[in-house]
Amino acid sequence: MILAMGIFLIKRFATFVATLLAASVLVFAVQGALPGNAAQVMLGESATPEVVAALSRKLGLDQPAVVRYGHWVRGLLTGDLGTSVSYDVPVAQLIGERLAVTAPLALLAMALTTVLALTLGIYAASRHNKLGDVGVMTLSQIGIAIPNFWFAILLILVFAVKLQWFSAGGFPGWDESAWAALKALILPAVALAVVQAAILARITRSAVLDVLREDFVRTARAKGLNRRQVLWRHVLRNAFVPVLTVMGLQFASLLTGTVVVENVFSLPGLGRLIFQAISNRDILVVQSVVMLLAAAVIVINFVVDMLYAVIDPRLKVHSA
């Protein structure tokens, strides 16, 4: 049993490393596939050949692709990602600054999603086929159909333009006052969370309903526990497995959602950075941020897989 678990862990870890490697090759290859020289693309059509040649040397473009790839991967591992052409600061420093906006936003959104979804999902399941259930399900069906960036615009319309409780965008930074900074992240986090919660609430509801049909629930009821006690002591723990998986999968859409919503609110996070980098043709930055986001998704899915195996040992054999 322990051996099987060990083999599973090793196999899964090998896949994880291979996936990360494949992702880095892909991200790197897209730069190689650039029509024309990357230095030419960065500098634009009007650049003279001498300037292009100088930048090519600076970026190491005169070396073979394998050498450049090795260099880049070493940079990724050591945190030396080169210097941004448009900002003239180290890419790693740039990403670090922007993460101070994106990471809290993603965490806040995920926390809001979890609270909203679990509350609504459990409530709907406990009122199965009654008015409350139908209401929650209808709302969630609409929630899934709403584009998060449109919801963000509506929030700005109501809370910034009409009520003027929040600013319509921008970020004061964490140095001035933590509350002001947090306040600037509230509307974006709500915009991200509502749509995600709509999906997760449905998953939670059906997971809870599935567990409620199990034999051990009937046994617990027969033992004399009331509905509420059974729900909290037995059902939720078991229903958590599918909910956790979906939360892991949702993390990818949350990250891309953050990229979009940051642009709606003009928040200086990774999402905004990537778009500025695209328009500035700052390929090093685009490459590094895309790699970072893809790696985040891969890591989260790996962690969820591990947790999954720990929580529910039955699954190990299947996935191995």
Binding site: I156, L157, T256, I283
Partner: protein
């Protein structure tokens, strides 16, 4: 009860069907008629409120909002069709291959699918845009690539189920080869699951196109697109806030329609797939 009777009685399917029919009808209508030209500028009449002449008003360049919405539907449908087409063409082929061959082929296809999932449509679009410049073609391909692993997974899972059935064994006993069984027995039996997934992915594609166009990575001016209308509407929020509302409603009704229809189809076509309600 016939299929039609069951379909008409199925609430989600009926509501979704009506919304989807409206979307398709609007897109078809846009080929022959829009109240005004969706690309013609009329600066003197910009930012008009809703009126008899312009039912939903005009935008910052004086274009009629109703005409833009009607013409924009065509764009959404085109992106949805092509992106889902790419997903089905490659995803179903890979899924069928994985189920037919099993072993390392299956393992490879599935790991590839896992890998592609790490690049959501938006990320691949960003990568491709950085290399090839923004445009609807790049955006559609990015959404299509994202659809491939989705269809590969669902095809493999459904096809594996069919391969273990007795009638496949019987077909083998009759001397049919792997590919003939795949085409004649497996594919028809998984079609229902694929149709349901195609409906849902169509909705996902519409949402993704809207987001990419909003960010300027999708449809380029002057082609009307709901996503771009939202971006322009946001800039005019203080002058005419309704401009940021209409395109969003168009997206929500389309996506809602497709999702409801997908749910309905799941129940109607394959009761075993139906979610517990």
């Amino acid at each position: 009860m016939t299929f039609t009777q069951r379909a008409l009685r199925h609430k989600s399917f009926a509501i979704g069907g009506v919304l989807v029919a409206l979307l398709i009808a609007t897109a078809l209508l846009s080929f022959v008629w829009t109240p005004y030209s969706p690309t013609e500028l009329d600066i003197p009449n910009k930012l008009q409120p809703p009126s008899a002449a312009h039912w939903l008003g005009t935008d910052s360049l004086g274009r009629d909002v109703v005409s833009l919405l009607i013409a924009g539907s065509r764009n959404s449908i085109a992106v949805g069709l092509i992106a889902v087409g790419i997903g089905i063409a490659f995803g179903v082929a890979l899924g069928l291959l994985a189920a037919a061959r099993r072993g390392w082929v299956e393992e490879l296809v599935m790991r590839l699918a896992d890998f592609t999932l790490a690049f959501p449509a938006l990320l691949s679009a960003i990568l491709l845009t950085a290399a090839y410049g923004p445009g609807l073609g790049v955006a559609t391909i990015a959404i299509g690539i994202f659809n491939v692993p989705v269809f590969a997974r669902i095809t493999r899972a459904a096809a594996n189920g069919v391969w273990s059935r007795e009638f496949v064994l019987a077909a083998r006993a009759c001397g049919k080869g792997t590919w003939r069984i795949t085409l004649e027995h497996v594919l028809p039996n998984i079609a229902a699951a694929l149709i349901v997934q195609a409906t849902i992915q169509f909705a996902v594609a519409i949402l993704a196109e809207a987001a990419l166009s909003y960010l300027g990575l999708g449809t380029q001016p002057p082609t009307p697109s709901w996503g771009r209308m939202l971006g322009e509407g946001q800039n005019m929020m203080y002058q005419s806030w309704l401009l940021a509302v209409w395109p969003g409603l168009a997206i929500v009704f389309s996506v809602l329609g497709l999702n409801l229809m997908g749910d309905g189809l799941r129940d109607l076509l394959d009761p075993r797939l139906a979610r517990q309600r």
